[in-house]
Every structure is written in structure tokens, then in C-alpha cells.
Amino acid sequence: MITLARRERKSRTRHAILESAAGLFARKGFLATTTADVAEAAGVSHGSVFAHFATRDELVERVVTEFGGRIAAQVKRVREGGGVRAVLSAHLDGLMDHEAFYTRLVQEGRFLPRDARRMLVEIQSAISTQLAAALEEGASRGTIRRVPVDFAFNLWIGLLNHYVMNRDLFAPRGQALKTWGRKLLNRFMDLLEERP
């Protein structure tokens, strides 16, 4: 009983640390957030952070993994036959839920710890794999133009990133993806779809 209660408490503390870290990374950025900030926000001692994560880098990697894993799972739920629009729409929905965090990832991606950076590429791989399957299926059915997968994927990512990085220009009073996401998706699909 005691063991179970202790395990639950441990799990709750770990969750609180991860949630607080994600919130701070979104608000202040990865580079500007210290483990002491995370401990304070989570209401735990500084040592407790390191009881759950051996290093600061491990904490960053874990937060990035949780964020990306949720989006990748959302995109993977679009089963075969869902089409390019459904894959990109699921991707967009996942990003819109956490735009501030995503913006920091884009801005500071190159300065992330090596494992977190690699994790980001793994997550992008999960999304580009779904997109590749949908593009191939659409092209074989004649509904989607045949374009190189890397070009389509990077064009889509580049478009979204441009809007979130320059939110002050595109949506000064709101979120860039909530304001522009659907329009961008429709216009992107206009480029890809074959017209009869």
C-alpha cells in the first residue's frame, strides 16, 4: 500500500515537473529556463528535479518527446486512405494546441541538446512518413500531383514556421496558426490537387 502511494506520488511529481517545464519553455524559451525555475513552478525542491531527470538535457529531451509524441500519434491516427489533407490537418491541429511551445522549438531548435534535436527529427520523420504514404496514394489515384516528398514536406513546414516565427506581422493579437492555419492548408492543397 505504502509502495503504491509512494509510486503514485512519484509519478505525480514527475508529471508536474514535465508540465511546468513545458509551460516555462513555451513562455521563456528553452535557453532562458533554468532547472531552478522549473522546480519553483512545479512546487518541488531543486533536488527533486534531478531525482527524476539525471540532467537538464534529459528533462528537455523528455518534454520535447512528450510534445512530439502526441502530435505524431494524432497524425498516425489518420489511417490509410485518409488523404493528404487529413494528414496535414491532424498535424496542424496538434501544433495549434501548443503554438507557443512549437514557436520556441522552431526558434531555438538548433540550440537544443543533441538528443532533443534528434528527437525532433524522429518526430518529423513520423509526420513525413504519413505524408509520403498519402502523397503516393493520391498520385496513384490521380487526385494529387506527383511531387517529391521532401519538397512537399519542407514546403509545408517552412510555410507554418514562417507564420509562427513572424506572428507579430500575421496575427499580432492572436495565434498565427489559429488565425491562418486553415487558410494555409486550403491554399497548400490548391497547389497539390489535380484539377479535372
Binding site: 500519434a73 498516425k76 538528443d115 534528434r118 527529427v121 524522429e122 518529423q124 520523420s125 513525413s128 512518413t129 505524408l131 509520403a132 516528398v149 521532401d150 519538397f151 514536406f153 519542407n154
Partner: protein, 83 residues
């Protein structure tokens, strides 16, 4: 949900597994035509080429990422590193 021991891909449907056999621990992408698990070298090459094709990464960067990813997975983590 289980994940492929050799590339980490989540496997939910029977079609995700090698030869559609849910008793296998690796996915259809990590299987040779006869269903056996491909080698580590084949896995590194396959994953890096896929990253180049779908994300346009530099081949050398893709190989490094593939090695770092694969070396953590159950199928490969206890093997001696191949460079």
C-alpha cells in the same frame, strides 16, 4: 501498443507487423521479403535513405541520426557499434 524493436515504429494493426504476423516483434519495414529481421547495416541505410527522401536531410547527418536512434532500440542496443 507495441513498438518495433528495430526502428521504434508503433505497431497497432496486423498490417504494421512483419508479414502481418502479430507474434513478430519487428515491423514490415524492418523485415526482409521472407519476414526475417534485416541487419543493423541494412537498418541504418534504410532509415537514413528514408530521411533523405522524405525530409531532404544531408546524407551524412541522416546517417548519424539513424545510428543514434537505432542504437537505443532493443534490437541493437547491446551490439558493438558499427561505424
Amino acid at each position: 501498443m507495441t513498438a518495433c524493436i528495430a526502428c521504434g515504429m508503433p505497431m497497432e494493426m496486423a498490417e504494421d507487423y512483419a508479414l502481418g504476423d502479430v507474434t513478430k516483434t519487428w515491423c514490415r519495414y524492418c523485415a526482409r521479403p521472407d519476414g526475417s529481421l534485416r541487419s543493423y547495416e541494412e537498418a541504418v541505410e534504410g532509415m537514413s535513405q528514408w530521411m533523405v527522401r522524405t525530409q531532404g536531410l544531408d546524407l551524412e547527418v541522416a546517417r548519424r541520426m539513424a545510428v543514434e536512434t537505432l542504437d537505443r532500440l532493443p534490437a541493437w542496443k547491446d551490439r558493438g557499434r558499427v561505424r
